[in-house]
Amino acid sequence: MNLELSDEQEFLRDAARDALGRVKTVDAAREALEDPAQRPDLWPTACEAGWAGLLVGEEGGGAGLGAFDAMLVAMEAGRVLAGVELLGHLPASALLDAGQYGGLSAVAEGTRRAALLAARPPGGLDGDAWTVEPRSGSRRADAPRAEGDRVSGTVTWVPDAPGADVLVVVTGDGTALAVDAGQEGVSVEPVMRYDATRSLGHVTLDAVHGETLQVTPEQVSHAWYLAQVLLAAEAVGTVERCLTDAVAYAKERFTFGRAIGSYQAVKHALVEVLRRRENAYSLLVYAGWSYEDRRDEFPLAASAARSSAGRALDFATRELISVHGGIGATWEHDAPLFFRRAQLSRRLLGGAGEATDRVAGELLARVAA
């Protein structure tokens, strides 16, 4: 057993921290709220670092690394609120790789960026359908339909859809097609909500042509769970950043003659942030391990990671604000930017609450089996 990071993994992480550290991403997150054009384009950084092909096998021109490696990069992106389009691209690239997509090498290089029109696999309380995010409200929408090599439907709130070249569309039958985003009949409406670092799109497909990928429904469902763990990993990175900032402030802010970090109410809350970070990180480890070695547990591990990391992020971002008192609630401070990240993330890709329900569903199914 060895769960420590390997030398390669440490290198990957440090290189990511370095590369993303060259751009003032947190400041940009604030500026982009008022002027979306200020959102830095980090895709060239991703390509240069080789992240685009992280999950594509070596035969496909990628690095053939594992899910946990992808999470390490996502954690670094989350730490600095870097809007790098990996949440859309990486799960899509894994499916393209599994389905032996013709244009794989360009995807692995990143010259063609991919995005996943993810559908939540059947199971859970609302039945046996593959569903996608509703535009609004709590009732989930039907996933796109394919007839032959033509696919139609609407998927809203798709991470990293604007500007993507290849859309990987998951259908209501649990199949997946690769759609060239440039063709007639594809419309991508860019949307920005609350967190300007996150590029989202409402996508409509009108009988567009797609290349059917040779993948099993299980592989398709694992793309969903891969997106869940990447969201979780980003969240863990953000939690770490919140903790560092909050601890630093708790040491230097004095009231009543003492540093506020010496008060137990503050100290214990910060330890709670750490505790939640540790738990969420342990579940990322579980997800990474199951992805490689115990695929049947991946849905459970990924859902637990998403649920736990999501709740950790909610808690950490609120705690960061309250430790800072009044200034924590001001526009000039960074805390609101992390808070905005948490608020939006929690509602994407099925929502954190749904992931929690999946944990229950998976546990109940395991004991029934």
């Binding site: 057993m1 060895n2 420590e4 903790l243 010496s262 750490l274 738990n279 579940l283 637990a304 546990l363």
Partner: protein
């Protein structure tokens, strides 16, 4: 990242499995009559010791196997899969034996460790007192040295797990009250059958009496009963507490609070299994319990690479206790009052958990320690620093009156 056994570990696992296949039937049965439980589990520990399965991490010279924590975990996993209990004296073998190895004399090591390992002599931890739990260095049990070098011990210990069938206890006593409190302490080995020792069972919430209060009335101890030197008791106690943290940190899964156990109880009620609120609670608590499993593996992996886990290992204890409380509450909510029948496993868990919150360091103390030692937050102001213990006590009495 690898959770799989190395070839050596796989071979070891096979050996353990092979042994269990042959001997699991000799393990104590469940639901033994109360008076037969301890003798049966002692016999079982002896059997395990003979087979080299009782103290695998102990060095060979003390009867252990000189193996690492991974082998310990392999044994735990295989035993739990086979549905047989492990050793009886976890406190002795896991915490007190290693303390004696670290601080005891050669005579003490050769006299006590063997019988401890074979459960011929069970041990208890005589640290906490009515006025010294979290603030352990405030112990008042007083040992005074006599002219012939022997000691006279008087005082009271409390919450002492297993004292009712222990042969020896490791006891922290004050030997000098005129120096600051951490300085005047000494660790002793105390025979539980010595004249002047009185053990009284303390019933817990469940009604059972697993721990005790122990009184010492002018108990005579031999000159060589001290462990780790006179006045050096605090350092010796810290060693025990370090091993306690390890035992608790890597052993929480061993407490049996696996998410599947709670899911099973809920799955038995098809209505509950489809209830949104029940599922939300199960999902949250299930995630917590799963994270503990992998936090445990991370800890082991650290141990294996030679680093000693820091105070953050205590986080796993906080999570385990809190999650198990939530999970037991959930199951009981689903099953209704029947789950609170005295002989129901969930009634037992429900009763056991509130105390577990305090055992081995309360949640508040763990959060203080982790906040200060891991996050580097400033400590709270302390009113007891550098003040002789006797004066401290006088001030406390004054404050209360």
């Amino acid at each position: 990242m690898d959770l799989n056994d190395t070839p050596e570990q796989a071979a070891y696992r096979e050996r353990v499995r092979g042994w269990l296949a042959e001997h699991a039937s000799e393990a104590p049965r469940e639901n033994l009559p109360e008076e037969e439980v301890v003798p049966a589990r002692r016999a079982w520990q002896r059997r395990l010791a003979e087979a080299g399965l009782a103290a695998v991490t102990w060095p060979k010279e003390f009867g252990g196997q000189g193996l690492g924590p991974i082998e310990q975990v392999i044994i735990g996993q295989e035993f739990s899969d086979a549905g047989v209990p492990g050793i009886l004296d976890v406190i002795g073998v896991g915490m007190l034996g290693p303390t004696i190895m670290a601080h005891g004399s050669d005579e003490q090591k050769s006299r006590y460790l063997g019988p401890m390992l074979h459960a011929d002599e069970v041990w208890c931890q005589l640290f906490s007192e009515p006025a010294a739990g979290s603030d352990l260095a405030a112990v008042q049990a007083r040992a005074r040295q006599q002219d012939d070098g022997s000691w006279r011990l008087s005082g009271q210990k409390v919450w002492t797990t297993n004292a009712q069938f222990s042969a020896y206890g490791l006891l922290l006593a004050r030997t000098d009250a005129d120096v600051p409190k951490h300085k005047g302490l000494t660790m002793f080995i105390v025979p539980m059958d010595a004249e002047g020792v009185t053990i009284r069972g303390l019933r817990q919430i469940s009604g059972e009496a697993e721990f005790n209060e122990v009184f010492f009335d002018d108990v005579r101890l031999d000159p060589d009963a001290t462990v780790g030197g006179v006045g050096a008791g605090w350092g010796t106690a810290l060693t025990t507490l370090m091993f306690e943290r390890l035992t608790i940190g890597s052993g929480v899964e061993g407490l049996g609070y696996r998410p599947e156990r709670f899911a099973e109880a809920i799955a038995s009620d098809p209505h509950a299994a489809h209830d949104r609120e029940v599922r939300r609670r199960l999902g949250e608590v299930g995630s917590e319990l799963l994270s503990i499993r992998f936090a445990g593996y991370r800890l082991l992996s650290q141990l294996q690479s030679g680093s000693i886990p820091g105070p953050e290992a205590g986080l796993a204890k906080i999570t385990t206790v809190a999650a198990a409380i939530e999970a037991a509450d959930l199951v009981t909510d689903v099953l209704g009052p029947d789950a609170l029948s005295e002989d129901d496993q969930f009634a037992y868990i429900t009763s056991f958990l509130p105390g577990l919150k305090s055992a081995g360091g309360t949640e508040e103390i763990l959060r203080n320690t982790i906040g200060e030692r891991v996050l580097g937050l400033p400590p709270e102001p302390r009113l007891d620093k550098g003040i002789p213990f006797s004066e401290l006590r006088a001030r406390e009495r004054e404050a209360i009156s």
